[in-house]
């Protein structure tokens, strides 16, 4: 209760001010407001009839404060500090936003909640949404995309393979043996039955990659590297199993969907800060999913090789050799911040996991 405060009342009928005295009265649903004009006119407003102005800062007060009285016009206060005091004394509870603005503890609480939500979105939300959406993508879309990409690659970057035909046949035999022995528990999408095809090409260094819908390309460079270091067919079979893993997990399609979900989600959350921040975090998160995909494909390779009686140690050695060859030209740092910017997990760790049969890394 206390001393009556002074204010200027604009009743909405004209812009003329009327001097009023006002009181705040505590009530069960928050304070109510009583205005008394100099003429003796009395205006009583229940709590919900008043638009209680928000407090922007714990310290500084605005020069003047306006209280929205709805159809009764507005009330202007020249001394916001004593109004806030009276309001607190009458038991007014501010909004959550106001508490966050004026109390650090409240701000920190909501900050933690937001961080937890963003983390959950990263850890479960996006992968779940990607799985659901990827189920809806037909195999035909993937194969038509792959046909187009293969045409482009064959025109520009890849040439026909020079690996002897009998060598190709031997590797293809190994590949088909892998494709035949796919156990149901390695199929992430039960009804997804792509036709797995192996292509040999020359170009793009020592490389192997999978295109969506079942097309896998092995470059001559990779075959030659395995031969040069006498790593045997198990090394190449492991690489092929890894690529089959990408196909069966539908990683390309997933990545497109995941990047889409990320762009929308992070755009909504951080777009108001800046395009740079939202796009940057979306790209970094996308890369992190890609590293997960590589780890998934490695685990797939370990499981499939174990099933067909092959070993994954030679594949690990081959990976190290591939990196060694590339590393001779451009040394790559491992771990640390650089890792965040790469599409593959650090090779030594990958090789380690493959040699130990996926122990620890794979479920």
């Amino acid at each position: 209760m206390g001393e009556a405060l002074r204010g200027l009342w604009f009743d909405g009928r004209s812009s003329a001010a009327r001097e009023v005295r006002l009181r705040l009265q505590p009530g069960p649903r928050g304070p109510s407001l009583v205005l008394q004009a100099g003429s003796g006119e009395l205006l009583e407003l229940r709590n919900e009839q008043v638009g209680w102005p928000e407090r922007w800062s714990a310290g500084r007060m605005p020069r003047k404060l306006t209280v929205d009285l709805g159809a009764n016009g507005s009330l202007q206060l020249d001394d916001p500090a004593s109004w806030q005091q009276a309001l607190a004394a009458a038991g007014h509870k501010g909004s959550l936003a106001q508490h966050m603005q004026t109390r650090w503890s409240m701000f920190a609480g909501v900050l933690l909640a937001a961080a937890a939500l963003v983390l959950a979105f990263y850890r479960w939300g996006t992968p779940w949404a990607a799985t659901q959406l990827t189920r809806q993508v037909p195999l035909g879309w993937e194969t038509s995309l792959t046909d187009r990409v293969m045409r482009d690659l064959d025109q520009g970057w890849l040439k026909p393979s020079k690996v002897p035909a009998e060598r190709q046949e031997a590797l293809r035999g190994r590949f088909e043996a892998l494709a035949r022995s796919l156990p149901p528990e390695l199929r992430r999408y039960g009804s997804y039955q792509p036709r797995l095809v192996l292509h040999f090409r020359r170009g793009m260094g020592a490389n192997a990659f999978a295109l969506p819908g079942g097309t896998i390309v092995l470059t001559d460079g990779m075959v030659e590297l395995a031969e040069k270091h006498r790593l045997g067919d198990d090394a190449l079979a492991g690489v092929l199993a890894h690529e089959i893993g990408h196909v069966m997990h539908r990683h390309t399609t997933r990545l497109l969907v995941e990047q889409g979900v990320l762009n929308v989600g992070l755009g909504l959350a951080l777009g108001d800060v800046s395009w740079l921040l939202s796009t940057g975090s979306s790209l970094l998160t996308g890369l992190s999913y890609r590293r997960n995909h590589e780890a998934e494909a490695d685990c797939f390779a370990v499981a499939l090789m174990a099933r067909t009686g092959g070993r994954t140690e030679p594949m690990a050695d081959l990976l190290l050799k591939v990196e060694g060859d590339a590393g001779a030209k451009a040394p790559r740092q491992d771990g640390g911040w650089f890792e965040l910017l790469s599409s593959h997990p650090a090779t030594p760790q990958r090789a380690q996991a493959l040699k130990s049969g996926g122990a620890g890394a794979c479920r």
Binding site: S14, R60, P62, A114
Partner: protein, 395 residues
């Protein structure tokens, strides 16, 4: 703030406008909005906008009384949800390939755009109050659609332009004329830019002339020619900005271009580089155009606030210096980039403060003479759409 600090002519009082908010305070308002929007998966947006408007309005002192933003939360929320539903329906139709529905929605959206604009203006005017008296936007629908003729002229120009270009473009050797086709394209482009300027002029003049406070109509004096001159000057500033940015870039990267040429057909690397160059080009365009955009904004602000008033009761004068504003914007853009956008609330406050502080209100006959009008409530979906397309509440 003292009353009457300009020489008083025949009962005229000068009131400099003032913004009393601070960057640090608004930063808190903004970051709280951001966090609550994340936690509520975006549904806090209308409340966030309301709080932002209340912060800026409540610290804008007009003749020693703050402005008031009184939109009801419930209305803004309903407007926002309607907008989200409309947008989701459109996206769904587009994604599932329902071309007829998409076409109907696009044409419907274009035809209804003037309606939504006027609805947004009604909502915003009605929510603005000063000394207990509400602003009003009184333009009738017929008037709004008549003022929107440049929208329909734009559609007609390109409809005719495309068919003409189709006639002239050479299909075989010796037929048609590429020069004529290009000429028609250029003419269409110039005509559509003029349409855009005319639309801006029409809408601004309608906003002021059909705006009312306390029964007194607004006065609007700027001419269309003034707008065209500002746009031409802006074009000059943009070209200047482009030259400066490109010059700085060449000086800084002179060596690396040679290195770029040295790279030979490097497969994936070349594609990646192409993409990076594309992104960099868009970014540079954004940087080079920032001064021009600020210049246009300041010149327009200056023109409008020097040439409007409220019937015979009030006039405004504006002392905003366009180049000072450009300098402030350049500083703000650089700091926002350096802080990944976290400087933006401070930038917004500093720009708003410079604009507000440049305006002086001259009132004839005291502040008590405005009569309040009964408020007509307006649906908020137009306002939500206007916000989504970038027509900000606080500008």
């Amino acid at each position: 703030m003292q009353e009457g600090n300009a020489p008083a002519r025949a009962g005229i009082t000068a009131w400099p406008l003032e913004f009393t908010g601070s960057g640090g305070e608004y930063f808190r308002v903004w970051i709280v909005n951001l966090l609550l929007s994340i936690v509520t998966l975006g549904f806090y947006t209308p409340l966030a906008r309301r709080r932002t408007a209340q912060y800026f309005y409540g610290h804008t002192m007009v003749a020693d009384s703050p402005l008031e933003f009184t939109a009801q939360t419930r209305r803004m929320l309903v407007g926002f949800i309607l907008f989200v539903a409309l947008y989701a329906a459109f996206k769904f139709a587009a994604e599932t390939g329902q071309d007829t529905t998409v076409a109907v929605m696009l044409v419907g959206g274009a035809v209804l755009a003037p309606y939504f604009w006027a609805s947004a203006m009604r909502f915003r005017f009605n929510a603005t109050r000063w000394r207990g008296v509400r602003l009003q936007f009184t333009a009738g629908w017929g008037e709004v659609y008549r003022a929107s003729w440049p929208v329909f002229a734009f559609a007609a120009i390109w409809g005719a332009g495309f068919s003409l270009i189709g006639l002239y473009i050479p299909k075989e050797r010796g037929t048609g004329s590429l020069a004529t086709a290009l000429g028609i394209g250029l003419a269409c482009a110039i005509a559509s830019i003029l349409c855009a300027i005319r639309l801006e002029y029409n809408y601004k003049s309608l906003t002021v002339a059909r705006g009312r406070i306390g029964g007194q109509p607004g006065r609007w004096k700027p001419q269309f020619g003034d707008f065209v001159r500002i746009w031409l000057a802006t074009l000059g500033v943009f070209l200047l900005g482009l030259v400066i940015v490109l010059g700085l870039l060449t000086a800084a990267l002179g060596g690396s271009f040679a290195l770029l040429k040295g790279m030979k057909g490097g497969g994936m690397m070349a594609a990646f580089l192409g993409l990076a160059i594309g992104v960099a080009a868009i970014f540079l365009l954004f940087l080079a155009s920032a001064p021009a955009r600020a210049y246009r904004e300041a010149r327009m602000f200056q023109l409008v606030w020097n040439n409007i008033g409220v019937s015979s009761v009030a006039r405004f004068k504006c002392r905003l210096k366009p180049w000072g504003y450009v300098g402030l914007r350049v500083k703000n853009v650089l700091l926002s980039l350096l802080t990944l956008g976290f400087y933006r609330p401070f930038a917004r406050v500093s720009e708003y403060r410079m604009k507000t502080g440049s305006v002086t209100l001259h009132v004839k006959g005291g502040l008590d003479q405005l009569a309040g009008q009964l408020a007509r409530e307006e649906q908020a979906v137009g306002d939500a759409i206007a916000d989504a397309v970038g027509l900000e509440l606080v500008g």
